[in-house]
Symmetry: C2
Subunit: 334 residues, 2 copies
Amino acid sequence: MIGDRAAMLMFDTTLTELYAAIQDDLDVVRGVFDDELASDLPFVNEFCETVRSYRGKMLRPAMLLLAGKACGGITPAHHTLGAVVEMVHMATLVHDDVLDGADERRRRPTIRALSGNVAAVLLGDYLISHAFHLCSGLNEPFASRRIGAATNVVCEGELLQNRHCRDVALTEAEYIELVRRKTGALTAVACELGARYAGADERVTGALAGYGMDAGVAFQIVDDVLDVTGDAGEIGKSLGLDLRLGKHTLPTIHCLGQAEDRTARELADALSGTVAIDRAALRGWLAGTGSIEYALAVAESYVKSAVKRLDVLPPSEARSSLAAMAEFITRRTF
Amino acid sequence: MIGDRAAMLMFDTTLTELYAAIQDDLDVVRGVFDDELASDLPFVNEFCETVRSYRGKMLRPAMLLLAGKACGGITPAHHTLGAVVEMVHMATLVHDDVLDGADERRRRPTIRALSGNVAAVLLGDYLISHAFHLCSGLNEPFASRRIGAATNVVCEGELLQNRHCRDVALTEAEYIELVRRKTGALTAVACELGARYAGADERVTGALAGYGMDAGVAFQIVDDVLDVTGDAGEIGKSLGLDLRLGKHTLPTIHCLGQAEDRTARELADALSGTVAIDRAALRGWLAGTGSIEYALAVAESYVKSAVKRLDVLPPSEARSSLAAMAEFITRRTF
């Protein structure tokens, strides 16, 4: 993990390079996103303005557009679908911030911090509803059906996570299954639809869905690592929440299995909420068992698998960009 | 308002009579609803079992089916759409219970009371997602687009309600607008789609949407009245919440405009949360200004308008049932 400002800027520059070929399309996606959310109620538009300020890397629309480009070309449906997946993602962020009691997101106060949990629950619902409304504006219901199936699975992943809250017995396999649902399902459907709406056949569409799933899992593992190792100022959101909220993630799962008895007991107590713990102590434990390195190695294996799946495509700049995007996931520091 | 047990049983019997012609179709709707929610995760199915226990009068699917029957006949799409509108309704109930901190629903503990707010927010999301997934299983995206537009408006209504929380300046016109969005939009789209999927033309479809809107507004006004006058044992949910939560509804809006200074001041203090107040005192104030009678008269005018809109249809048993359903709304005690 490169943690300094220079590395972030380097990452930023490179992400900009990767996005260069789809920059205009991302602008169109932003326009579709904004138009869809416009309400006749001015205060609702103010909420949406705040939601827009959380818009960051737009990884999901970027993956969808690049998948389209790599499979034949970007169509107006891709712009619509890019806005749809970003809107679904934003809805999950707004609700997640309620569930986690998080106060900061992208260096700004969260909706719940600004306007309370009630407004945040309702605004999340508003975003989900508009995502489906936007999606069903396409000529045929295929994408709506696939997006609906994906969001069903995302909700199951979130419910699983809540069920395993403070569950020290959570296994690595269960964690991965949870992450596949919570995060992988949406990146998978983004890439699948990007391919499909560019005219790709089932084999290619399936491969791209697999790419999206693997990249999504790697992304979430790195996200969970950054919750422990990241710099809040750099990442721009509340960190260290996972342990406090009893979320057992890959680093802590590995550590619990590898640590000597006393550390394992202290970590289990912290996860089950019986004792408070700070990030510094947690970092010490994880360093002792090499658990951060382990988690990043697992993420790396998912990245490799993601890149391998792109072999189904003929070489192109877009295919290279998809591969590079996956490879950056484990290098990012925010 | 008839408040005794005998009246409820009479109402029950009559609702059963109204439903007689669509009883088998409602059973199909229940089956579609249950099949859609089935998950490979057993604990998710247990949640859905609890959600099913809140299923009550199924007014929205019943209206949709009767609209279909009155406009030419019920098709498999009607069964799907009946389950969709019921699922959207259930999602709003589960989230409303979170927002209101309500502990009881249909004589059973709410999801939030049983499993906490986090699970309830996520389960509401799961229900919304499945509603859209189910709807997009139809051959063409028309219904998804209309349902999405309706749920956009429902969310706006809920956001409006939250914005006007403890707002003693809320006017009757603003309240009606809020209710049209929060409750009317879903009953309107249910009747509109019932008509449309039976082959009705635009004039008839528009009239049925109007019927659903008016009936929905009347229903919500009566709901708000029952929050003050109803019997919790009979209605089976927490009552008296509106004033406690600072929700200004038609009876209190009317009372505030009509009451002598002292009562108006006390009511305004209770609404703004500066003093606590119980239902008995509130009932006394509302009785003094005839505000319950006033609210029921407004509801009655919406019922009359709803019934009038059915003139567009040729006489039929289904049309009579729709008219009778609207007329029962102001007579119900639960």
